[in-house]
Symmetry: T
Subunit: 69 residues, 12 copies
């Protein structure tokens, strides 16, 4: 079994969990077999009264592999 | 005054805060006098469309102690 | 362009995102031109059944500056 | 689902992997449902020509829990 | 040989070293064969003019083990 | 409740604890309601035989705030 | 000269070094000119008596580049 | 809005800033909408009298996305 | 002797060292007796072909203090 | 008692543990009374199919000292 | 001006500050022009009731250098 | 192959890259076969209007070794 990581920043005005969810959703468009995600830095972009939560997320997915260990 | 730590991973499909809450709730079943909790790594287990938030939480509780410093 | 940081701990019984929001709101009372915020340590103060989320937030704001680079 | 961590230092003259294995084996004597282990600091105790590998290992195990999230 | 860790916060109004000592003393009430302690975060609780030093200490103790590596 | 941080380096020829104490004492001249302090990097300035302990201390104090969460 | 990184988790029941080797082997299927690899977090998945070593590996490879610095 | 990261090591005999610039320039050959870059580890390869500065750079770029948060 | 820290992000299109210099220059407008500065995170804002180097700088300055240790 | 550290990178085609062993063996040629070693970064140099494991090792040894504490 | 570092572990039964002092004292036997020391990890060796404080100290000293920058 | 590290702080009024260069130059006076250098903390000593850049640099050099792995 081999896994790969991609690093994505999801954003949402609704909160950190939504930002994480968006990052995973985006990742699922280009990779299959996502197994887990790990939260990195969380930042908030502030534009006057409006906040946008930004979550750096490292996403792990399984690589289809033929061969033996 | 002396405090001890235990390390728990709480999980919840509803979000990080709920995962933290569950960790604290679990801890309260075996230790008394919980004072604070500190969030560690946050990961998300991804099972197709279903997400499960997992929060590593370090929980601090007061130890009943007789004696003087 | 020059930015400055201030470090604030926002709190809320409702969750981490609210605690972050409160920190930014507090900062906006004393500084202008807030651009972004970065989440640091998250702790939870536990008082029996009541939880209070506490979010250390580093807030970046633009400094009005005359002069050239 | 809730998990707990215990921190153990396994040792072995044969190498790091054996030291990790011993830590897990020791943990399995007191806790059930071990799910994963994470390697921390690795040190080697040197006694003249003899080496002893020491692996700090954080071990995660599932807590049997009744109740709902 | 296998070691285990427990994490304790010792406190003392007299200083950091005393806080460490109290943490070790507390640990010695419940575990035997303490070998070493490692200092983590040091905080000071401030109550007007009164300071209380708090030392997070990770304590390592030898586990009695039958069996071979 | 909202808290703010200021970062101060206290110094003392007598030792680390005294250096921390001096940092807190200095902070108390400009801010009220100091709640806790956290020790950061500790350095020692060496001038021939004379040592000066320097303690980086992050000091947290309560902000008086009107309004609701 | 320019290098790129990809992050892969190699796994093996035989040990950490084999897990690293598998990660590099996997990477070599999609990128050329691998120069070095750096070991990150090491975890062990525990399934009853069976262990699977998992090694996070950051792999650096040379990018073919025309142009001058 | 969603962003992705790629990790590149730029190099230059002229200095760190040039190495960063080369990393960004390389990235711009394969991805569009680069927004920012963050400097990681800086190393210098030494070949007798000749130095080559190497800058690990994490590059963030905007992903074109249809859909709503 | 007591020192205080302020955290500033200096920027410059010319490079990291210039960004550091600008941060120090800005700080010198509001505080006296700057003694040293420590470089934190370095980022580069990318706007098409134009780069802006941004250097997080922690600036230490001496506090004029009456009293004895 | 006083200890000193030296930092060595051991290498081996056979694996990480061998690389650590080589580092200690090298150290023992120039210093006496080696007590322990601590593993730092592990990298692998990749030359086509050939791997060379490289282990950064910090080695602690006792200094012979006359005098009293 | 050029400085060098050496890494020493000072120990003392009397406390951390004494352990630091002993490390600096030891260093001064082999190097001149010590300027500063920085405290690293602090551990305590526990032998029944007896504690020995151990302070990892990085010591910086000025190198006598002819030549110009 | 075995490598050793030495830790040097190079300084220069002209900038970080020059400070790194000076550290390497200094190291080359006492050790041979320098292979690479890694940048650590960067500080700036401020003396009124004059800046001195200080770069902590870890320098790796090859040890001439007879024997086999």
């Amino acid at each position: 079994m081999v896994y790969k990581y991609i690093d994505i920043v999801g954003t949402s005005p609704k909160g950190t969990d939504y930002a994480i969810k968006n990052a995973i959703q985006e990742a699922s468009k280009t990779v299959k077999n996502i197994q887990w995600a790990e939260l990195g830095r969380v930042t908030v972009k502030v534009d006057k009264q409006k906040l946008e939560y930004q979550a750096e997320v490292r996403i792990g997915f399984k690589v289809q592999r033929s061969g033996n260990d």
